[in-house]
């Protein structure tokens, strides 16, 4: 009885878990007993699990991750350092907004990843080329979200602070910053996704190490389990970072709860 | 009194995921005669909306049953229509298309629908606004559309859930007068939920005061004021005595819960 009630209360979670285990089991069973697996074309969970165990113990995986992370962090940090101030200034200064908006909007809407081959050729296959690509892709969410954050500041609140004798400093600290922070973190969430695209494409295009390269190489040599391991690890990193940003968003702006689903 | 609407021992419990079950109604009974105008007042959360939703056929009671003209209510039906507090207009439909909603779902042909909609739009005084969208209307106008939509399918029972609560005081007074005129002309049976004692006393033949949750009938007061009623009547001592009486009954329920 208690178990049953527990199930109905956490129905969603249980259904999700069941669906996952059912899929994995079906995948395994079908490829073991019904259709023999063609190892150059497909693989099955038990083989992926073996490869996973092996890879976690190998130094290569950790080296690849370190290489990719380094490029990602450089590009991402520069995106923060450049993107947020530009967005803030755009939000504060009308003329700056007018001047930059069409140009940056066009860039933001464009698949700038198309510049990847050029970037790799100009900046090289090492950290610099990939970091430059990550920067290029990740900077715009920071610009536009910081901009939107400043713009969304309620002018009534500014008047309230002024009416209590608040100074310029108070305006920034008590109104503009708190209302801009959630936007910037939401921007960071978008930027993470775009930055990862930069890393992956950069490493697909030309690299001799890194997680993207490892996935590509596994594919080129028909080591499907290794390829799946790479994809799963990248997926876990992406989900982890995205969730982290969601938590952070809730932390700096608990009043917004999750009214925005996107 | 022959009852047109007869509710017997209606109970309703809401079971929600992470909270205690809420008993919204417990053994709630009521009788309404044909053509009668009855109001329900009661503390908020006592189950008034829930009762209207049961009557409308949107939720099933856990216990008890409701009969309308001798037939048990098991789901939505043409003889009942509701006017909602939040208006409930489809924002992507024009006034006309909103009024036509019930007719459309009944399968009435477009030409007849349009004719009937025009008639009702005129009845509620919105002629000229047929092709406006809800966001272009004031609150009072929106509720006129809500009323026209409810009347369009010619229901015998009109359910109104705090229909004027979102309106400003003057619009509210105006809408009350117009509602009375329409009621006197069409002779619908009306069940009207409100927070306002004054509104209940002014409009109704009888006022039902409900207890705090779980909702039950606390008292039923007959309003023996002559009809047609007008605004001036609300300034008479008799009217004020009635209001005071309702207030005294209601007050115990409001304070009993803190």
């Amino acid at each position: 009885m208690a178990a049953r009630e527990y199930f109905t209360e956490h129905r969603r979670l249980w259904l999700g878990l069941c669906s996952f285990f059912f899929l994995v089991a079906a995948w395994e069973l079908v490829l073991t007993y019904i259709v023999p697996v063609n190892p150059f074309f497909f693989t099955k969970p038990s083989l992926i699990a073996d490869a996973f165990k092996e890879q976690i113990q190998s130094a290569k995986l950790w080296h690849d991750l370190a290489v990719s992370s380094q490029a990602f962090l450089w590009g991402f940090s520069f995106a923060v350092i450049v993107g947020i101030p530009v967005g803030l200034v755009m939000g504060w200064r009308r003329r700056v907004e007018y001047s930059l908006d069409p140009f940056l909007t066009a860039l933001y809407a464009s698949p700038l990843v198309a510049l990847a081959p050029l970037f790799i050729i100009v900046f090289g296959v090492g950290v610099l080329g990939k970091a430059a690509l990550v920067f290029l892709l990740a900077v715009f969410p920071f610009v536009f979200n910081a901009f939107a954050g400043v713009k969304s500041t309620d002018s009534l609140l500014i008047n309230v602070i002024r009416s209590f004798g608040g100074r310029e400093k108070d305006l920034y600290l008590k109104v503009i910053l708190p209302s801009t922070m959630p936007y910037i973190i939401a921007g960071a969430r978008l930027a993470i996704g775009r930055g990862l695209v930069g890393i992956i494409v950069g490493e697909f295009y030309a690299a001799s190490e890194g997680i993207g390269f490892a996935i590509l190489q596994a594919g080129d040599t028909y080591r499907l389990p290794d390829m799946f391991v790479g994809i799963i690890i990248l997926s876990l990193i992406a989900v982890g970072l995205t969730e982290l940003m969601r938590k952070l968003e809730l932390m700096v702006a608990p009043w917004r709860a999750s009214d925005e689903a996107r | 009194m022959a009852s047109f609407i007869k509710a017997r021992d209606v109970s309703l419990v809401f079971k929600s995921k992470d909270r205690q079950p809420v008993t919204a109604l417990s053994n709630f009974s009521l009788d309404i005669a044909h053509g009668e105008f009855v109001s329900i007042v009661g503390p908020s959360g006592c189950g008034k909306s829930s009762f209207l939703n049961i009557l409308l056929g949107l939720i099933r009671p856990g216990n008890g049953e409701i009969h309308l003209n001798g037939t048990r209510i098991t789901g939505p039906g043409q003889e009942r229509a509701m006017v909602f507090q939040e208006f409930g207009l489809l924002p992507w439909r024009t006034v006309t298309a909103n009024v036509e909603l019930g007719l459309e779902l009944k399968g009435i042909a477009p030409a007849q629908r349009a004719e009937r909609a025009t008639e009702l739009i005129k009845l509620v005084g919105l002629t000229g606004f047929e092709s406006h969208y809800p966001h272009e209307l004031s609150g009072g106008m929106k509720q006129r559309v809500g009323l026209a939509r409810a009347l369009a399918t010619e229901p015998e029972v009109l359910l109104m859930d705090e229909p004027f609560a979102a309106l400003d005081a003057q619009t509210r007074d105006l809408m009350q007068m117009e509602l009375l005129q329409i009621w006197e002309r069409t002779k619908k049976t009306v069940l009207f939920v409100t927070h306002s004692i004054e509104e209940a006393a002014y409009l109704s033949d009888r006022v039902i005061v409900m207890t705090a949750r779980p909702g039950r009938t606390k008292d039923i007061l007959k309003i023996d004021l002559p009809r047609p009623r007008d605004y001036e009547m609300r300034l008479t001592p008799e009217f004020n005595d009635l209001k005071l009486h309702i207030w005294e009954v209601l007050k115990e329920e409001l304070t009993s819960r803190g």
Binding site: G193 | L101, G102
Partner: protein
């Protein structure tokens, strides 16, 4: 005086285009005041060179050929993602069970940059149109699915009650309330999906193709034909901007019932 009025009235337009024109002129004039070192000159091009390359590629028909290939992959992949994502989003929004069953995959796939699947898709579908359609599809389907889902979930319960109270069936409820309510969300999803689809085309053609604009860019880069790279990039930029504007147009067309302030989100 008149000039000043003109300026204040059109300030945003003048500053916006002015800035872009300024950047272009600056870029064009770099060789005039700065001699690039040998190594860098190889990677350098000017707007006029790019325009000339564009003209040349247009005349010899190469651009048309590549464009056509890219457009097919884009349209097929995006079309497929609409056909799959939209109904699935609607159904997941209405059925709690299906939602719970599919949610793990949707959430995980959406957070993962779908581009990592490219080597796998190339392995399965080979180099050519099919792997491109597949990568466009996996890129574009999730924003559509998720936005449709959110639109369905956000439907106002009062409206559902209104329509139910008139005896509507689940199908009528879908048609009268749920679907119209989701339209703005679906269009926002479409805007995202178009961006993802273009990304898929570009990257798909870098690796899994011997034709198309993405291929043109990649092969030009390998041969240091920087002007051709920029022709490709500029075409993708122009297409993205045009499509984004078209969707915005569609949005305001379909949403005439909404107050002005709520139109963008």
């Amino acid at each position: 005086m008149k000039l000043k009025n003109f300026y204040t009235e059109h300030e945003s337009f003048i500053l916006g285009t002015g800035f872009i024109v300024f950047l272009l002129i600056l870029w064009e004039s770099i060789p005039l005041w700065y001699t690039l070192p040998k190594g860098m000159a190889l990677f350098f091009t000017t707007p006029s060179d790019i325009a000339a390359a564009f003209h040349r590629l247009l005349l010899n028909g190469e651009l048309e050929k590549h464009f056509y290939v890219s457009a097919i992959a884009f349209l097929a992949g995006l079309g497929l993602s609409i056909v799959v994502g939209l109904p699935l989003g609607l159904v997941m929004g209405r059925s709690a069970t299906l939602d719970a069953l599919l949610d793990p995959y949707v959430t995980a796939s959406n957070a993962t940059p779908r581009i990592v699947f490219l080597p796998l898709l190339i392995l399965w579908f080979g180099i050519g149109i099919w792997s491109k359609i597949a990568i466009v599809f996996v890129g574009a389907v999730f924003p559509l699915l998720i936005n449709t889902y959110v639109g369905v979930k956000n439907v106002n319960q009062v409206l559902v009650n209104v329509v139910r109270s008139f005896g509507a069936s689940e199908w009528q409820l879908m048609k009268i309330v749920v679907l119209p309510n989701s339209v703005p969300y679906i269009i926002a999803g479409l805007r995202l999906a178009i961006g993802r689809a273009i990304l898929g085309v570009v990257v798909g053609e870098f690796f899994g193709s011997s034709q198309g604009l993405g291929y043109m860019i990649a092969s030009a880069a390998t041969n240091y034909k920087v002007d051709v790279v920029f022709v490709g990039v500029a075409i993708f930029m122009a297409l993205s901007v045009i499509l984004t504007l078209a969707v915005k147009q569609l949005e305001s067309r379909l949403a005439s019932w909404r107050p002005e302030t709520a139109k963008t989100f």
